[in-house]
Symmetry: C2
Subunit: 246 residues, 2 copies
DNA sequence: AGGCGCTTGTGAAGGCGTGCACAAATCGCG
DNA sequence: CGCGATTTGTGCACGCCTTCACAAGCGCCT
């Protein structure tokens, strides 16, 4: 019922580690560095110091240096990092030089926005197929693609070489869609539905839940308010305002 | 019948610490617990064990117990947790009993989807105002609200009691919008634009970058592929290219 | 050629988070 | 009323991550 998180992969062969196993925290920051580097490249910068790049990415410079050191030594002491080289390096590590094919399932409110988003194409991805279960949607053109029925998923995954699936269906359908994606051969899923997905080992799932983000912000608002306000905090039992329901 | 006092919180003022300072990691999981609890409540469950709730939320049960223990002791040994009580408790901690007012800036592709999303309303938030800089958009009705010009932001924040702002504008405009939001009195920002925002201390920013999520998945795809493939990894300097699918 | 200033790469320390394992507490039942 | 089954709450150890601080390396200037 769990997902992701393989145990430590012990060295199998004594082969050269062509693929350094980076810390998860580092991996999560590489895309941010990459975006900052692309911005720098556009402004004509040839090199950048760890301090400069760290500022552009919003992180500590020591952290950035340690992150990059995991990829190898691509900086020059006294000078900094070669912007173009570092871009290639990070894009290679992230596997972006392959322009991965992505399938989007659920062409509703959110799905439409995602399908029309050009920020994916510019950052290494191609949405190559759209799916929905609603007969009303199937067949409609959308941003150069035609919405297909979910039954064609398996076929499309093979034909288009899809490795990543995006779920933008209601929560109730998300697990079924995930099962379909896995069955079709997809091994990475980005889930926008507010629910926990169960997938086999070897399949990676990342979840984006906007309501959770807002709730975290709400907590900090609450905390900030309780500090500036009168110290007497109240107890939650008193049900004056109705609670949220769903 | 209410106290969330920590057993050992010495060395403070005599004031009661109505607000336990939870670990960030715990805070980030509370919304997930809350969602799982609402699901359980709908199925009629009165109580739930840490094991059961942990499974529903997709976490380790020990972790869940430790998280909840930070809120106080709201479980009963040998029985489990009272679902309704725990919901109230978490909603109180997260400050959701106030149904926070949210402003959405940028009514474009993504903004339309967000404005029409009912998942916010059902989880403690009210989008009370929509803003855009485009004269074309201003004045248009959208999901019961009228799009207003960004200049009216300051006024609306006061009138509507807005504490959270959502930025759904292009990256180039995001910093300016953030400045406007802060100037208007907003102290929490959810940013969808792919850029780093600079805000004064005391203002919280959370960022959602979908391309980053995909890139992290891409990394794992790349890693998985490099394991199953021929061990001889290549160096990225060689500017070759390989495409998936065809 | 040599020195100087700048920047990287990293050892070490500390903090945070996780998960195990178990004592304490509670309920149900005979 | 006591006992066993069950489940919480938590002490503890371990590993990951962050941050500091600095030696090593590089280029430039004199
Ligand atoms: N709209 C937003 O801004 C937003 C924000 C955050 C999260 N979400 C989440 O994203 C998901 C989609 O939201 P939405 O507003 O687009 O909903 P929606 O109802 O507008 O769209 C859902 C789409 O999924 C399709 N669908 C349903 N079952 C399917 C199945 N089994 N296979 C394929 N397609 C199926 C429907 O036909 C519909 O077109 C929801 O889980 C929602 O909670 C949406
Ligand atoms: N569309 C998506 O699915 C998607 C996904 C991920 C991230 N994003 C990001 O979200 C942001 C919005 O994306 P989009 O596709 O909706 O873009 P969009 O161009 O469709 O919409 C942007 C809107 O912002 C408005 N705007 C511009 N400058 C403004 C300002 N100074 N003040 C107020 N409003 C202003 C524009 O008038 C427009 O209506 C972008 O940063 C994009 O990278 C979008």
């Amino acid at each position: 019922m769990s997902q992701q998180r393989q145990g430590s992969t012990p060295a199998t062969t004594g082969a050269v580690p062509a693929f350094p196993d980076l810390p998860e925290a580092t991996i999560a920051r590489l895309p941010e560095y990459l975006r900052a580097l692309h911005n720098l490249a556009e402004t004509g910068s040839e090199t950048v110091s760890s301090e400069g790049l760290a500022a552009a990415a919003g992180v500590n410079s020591a952290k950035l240096r340690k992150d990059l050191s995991h990829l190898g030594s691509y900086g020059t002491r006294g000078v900094g990092y070669d912007v173009a080289l570092l871009i290639d390096q990070i894009e290679y590590i992230l596997g972006l030089d392959q322009r991965r094919a992505v399938a989007l399932v659920g062409v509703g409110n959110l799905g439409h926005a995602l399908a029309g988003y050009d920020g994916f194409a510019s950052r290494g991805f191609r949405i190559v197929a759209l799916f929905d279960a609603d007969a009303e949607q199937v067949g409609k053109p959308l941003n150069g693609l035609t919405v297909r029925h979910i039954d064609e998923l398996g076929q499309a995954v093979v034909e288009e070489g899809i490795t990543i699936g995006v779920i933008a269906t209601p929560a109730g359908a998300a697990q079924a869609v995930a099962d379909d994606l896995v069955a079709a051969g997809v091994t990475s899923i980005l889930n926008f539905a507010p629910c926990v997905l169960s997938v086999p080992a070897g399949v990676d799932v990342r979840k984006v839940d906007l309501a959770i983000e807002l709730q975290i912000l709400s907590f900090h608002e609450h905390r900030k308010a309780s500090l500036t306000a009168i110290p007497g905090g109240r107890s939650p039992e008193a049900g004056n305002q109705e609670a949220v329901g769903s």
